[in-house]
């Protein structure tokens, strides 16, 4: 079984981003970049499938600039076998990314594609579902458990009311939720080995896909700030304030 894992280079989750002074976008100067946490979980899940003997090859893919080679190397160090960079300096939206990934999947013919449920920069939560639609594959989103058996993926999904289990025919799309697994750390020997693994760079514009943006960002601003609150000295004072000042209980 061949597994493709699309990953994204994003601002590290510990960084608190701010708008640029002219509000034209977010300030990404000198901020730490990492592999999107949900994509890391996706890579880990693929590696576990390989260790369990059900996956035979793992291909990590990203749409992005040269700089995202760094995140592909991270995926290789975690256990992906090879990597593909669909290189572009454009800001590509989920529909464009899904189209580019669909094109690659037509050639690679994976049995399973594992994506993160959302990239923590745009918080879109779209790409996996869109790729599934474009390929005509079933989708199991927000996965917290994945089992593969006889050409069927049985997936437990985190939904608002609790957990739902569905069975999807392979080839299928799975998107990861936080509790699917806890990703390992790449060991130093594996980081060294990753440097020698195959990383294929393809010019995204050579694929004949239209990935022009459909949305324009007019402005990026801070959310309304909350007024500074007060510290209360005791539980009694707290209850009094909630009853008589805020009037919420």
């Amino acid at each position: 079984m061949k597994v493709i894992v699309p990953i994204k280079r994003v601002v590290d989750y510990n960084v608190k981003v701010r708008p640029l002074n002219d509000e034209s976008g977010v300030d990404l100067n000198n901020v730490k970049m990492s592999i999107n946490p949900f994509c890391e979980i996706a890579v880990e899940e693929a590696v576990r499938l390989k260790e369990a003997g059900s996956a035979t090859e793992i291909v990590a893919v990203t749409v992005g600039s040269q700089a995202s080679q760094e995140q592909l190397r991270t995926a290789l160090a975690l256990g992906a076998d090879r990597a593909v960079l669909l290189e572009t300096n454009d800001n590509v939206e989920p529909l464009g990314i899904a189209k580019l990934l669909a094109k690659l999947c037509e050639e690679e013919k994976p049995d399973l594609i594992i994506l993160g449920k959302q990239a923590i920069d745009g918080d879109n939560n779209q790409t996996g579902q869109m790729l599934a639609a474009l390929l005509g594959f079933p989708q199991a989103t927000f996965a917290s458990e994945l089992k593969i058996n006889d050409g069927v993926a049985t997936v437990t999904r985190e939904i608002d009311g609790g957990l739902q289990t569905i069975a999807v025919n392979l080839p299928a799309i799975v998107t990861t939720d936080l509790r699917l697994n806890e990703p390992r750390y790449a060991s130093l020997p594996n980081i060294m080995k990753a440097k020698k693994k195959e990383l294929n760079v393809i010019d995204a514009s050579s694929l004949g896909i239209d990935f022009v943006s459909r949305l324009t960002t007019l402005k990026v601003e801070l959310p309304p700030s909350r007024d500074a609150g007060v510290k209360v000295e005791s539980v009694e004072e707290l209850v009094d304030k909630l009853k008589n000042e805020a009037k919420v209980i």
Partner: protein, 309 residues
């Protein structure tokens, strides 16, 4: 403008998220229809027809639509959606699952999680866990969006029903199957609908200790929530999680207990009207968003709070 809202329901009744989504749709100037796809869902359809201010309801009833599998719902909604200028779904796990699939079938780049409608083509949405708010505009002739339910007051349900038209379902794609569901059962209000929420974090130390919160929740008629750390530690089930990647809530009162206030948690609750934080670390970031902060050990503060209510 012609607006379609795809309803979230459980075949018997309409979910509150549908009412918020209709309210968002009604901010646009145009006729609004509601699409209900389900199985033996006449009750839900009848309830949808009573949502005030809508034009009509379209219903598609088929056994393969019972569990809102994305493949089937998107496939059935696509032709209908293409006749509208705007298609809105709630940004719940129901809507997040279906909305992008539907959009891709129609070659549309959708807009996730809108919190404000500036005009028919311009919307505000949070990015980077709510650290920033982006204003986005699109020239697409069909706009598909998911609606952050806490950002729009619910539409009302009235007495009179609007016209309902039924359409035949498309054949099942037969590529996915519902296996089962473990839905949390609780006598307390749902997190996303509660007026008051009391949430616990890693500071609670164990699942048993959540009974300290439950006692207070019972007195206040509150829902109980949690941080990711509390869920990951196995104190409570996943559907308790509030945050960037859990539930987005905005109750009148949110009480955070033993929660440090990581940006990913704040993303899910900082639009609450009044925020209370109880934490033994006076420098915990949660105090920066709290209207009332109490620096205390939760194991002494919670029993005292319960007895004073």
């Amino acid at each position: 403008m012609k607006i379609l809202v795809i309803a979230e329901h459980d075949n018997h009744s309409i979910k509150a998220s549908t009412l918020n989504t209709v309210a968002a749709g009604k901010k646009l100037d145009g006729e609004l229809d509601v699409l209900v796809m389900g199985s033996s869902c006449a009750d839900a359809v009848n309830e949808a027809a009573k949502i005030s201010g809508i034009n009509s309801v379209i219903s598609i009833d088929g056994s393969h639509l019972e569990n809102a599998l994305a493949e089937e719902t998107a496939n059935n909604a696509a032709d209908i959606a293409s006749q509208y200028t705007h298609v809105f779904l709630p940004a719940t796990t129901f809507g997040k699952n279906i909305m992008p699939r539907l959009a891709a079938l129609l070659d549309v780049q959708p807009i996730s999680d809108i919190i404000e409608i500036i005009d028919g083509s311009t919307y505000k949405r949070p990015i980077y866990a709510g650290s920033c708010i982006a204003t986005v505009k699109t020239e697409q002739s069909l706009i598909i969006a998911s609606v952050r339910t806490t950002a729009f007051d619910a539409a009302q349900i009235g007495d009179a029903g609007v016209n309902v038209t039924s359409q035949d379902p498309k054949d099942s794609l037969a590529i996915s199957n519902f296996v089962g569901e473990e839905l949390a059962k609780s006598d307390r209000p749902e997190l996303t609908a509660a007026d008051i929420i009391i949430s616990g974090g890693r500071g609670m130390q164990s699942g048993e200790n959540f009974s300290l919160l439950e006692g207070i929740a019972d007195k206040l008629g509150a829902a109980v929530g949690a941080s990711r750390a509390a869920v990951d530690s196995g104190f409570v089930p996943n559907d308790y999680q509030v945050g960037q990647t859990g539930k987005i809530v905005a109750p009148n009162l949110y009480i955070a207990v033993g929660i440090s206030g990581a940006i990913q948690h704040l993303a899910g609750m900082k639009d609450s009207k009044v925020i209370v934080a109880i934490n033994k670390d006076e420098d915990a970031p949660i105090f920066q968003v709290a209207d009332y902060g109490l620096v205390a050990d939760l194991f002494t503060a919670l029993p005292e709070l319960e007895s004073l209510l």
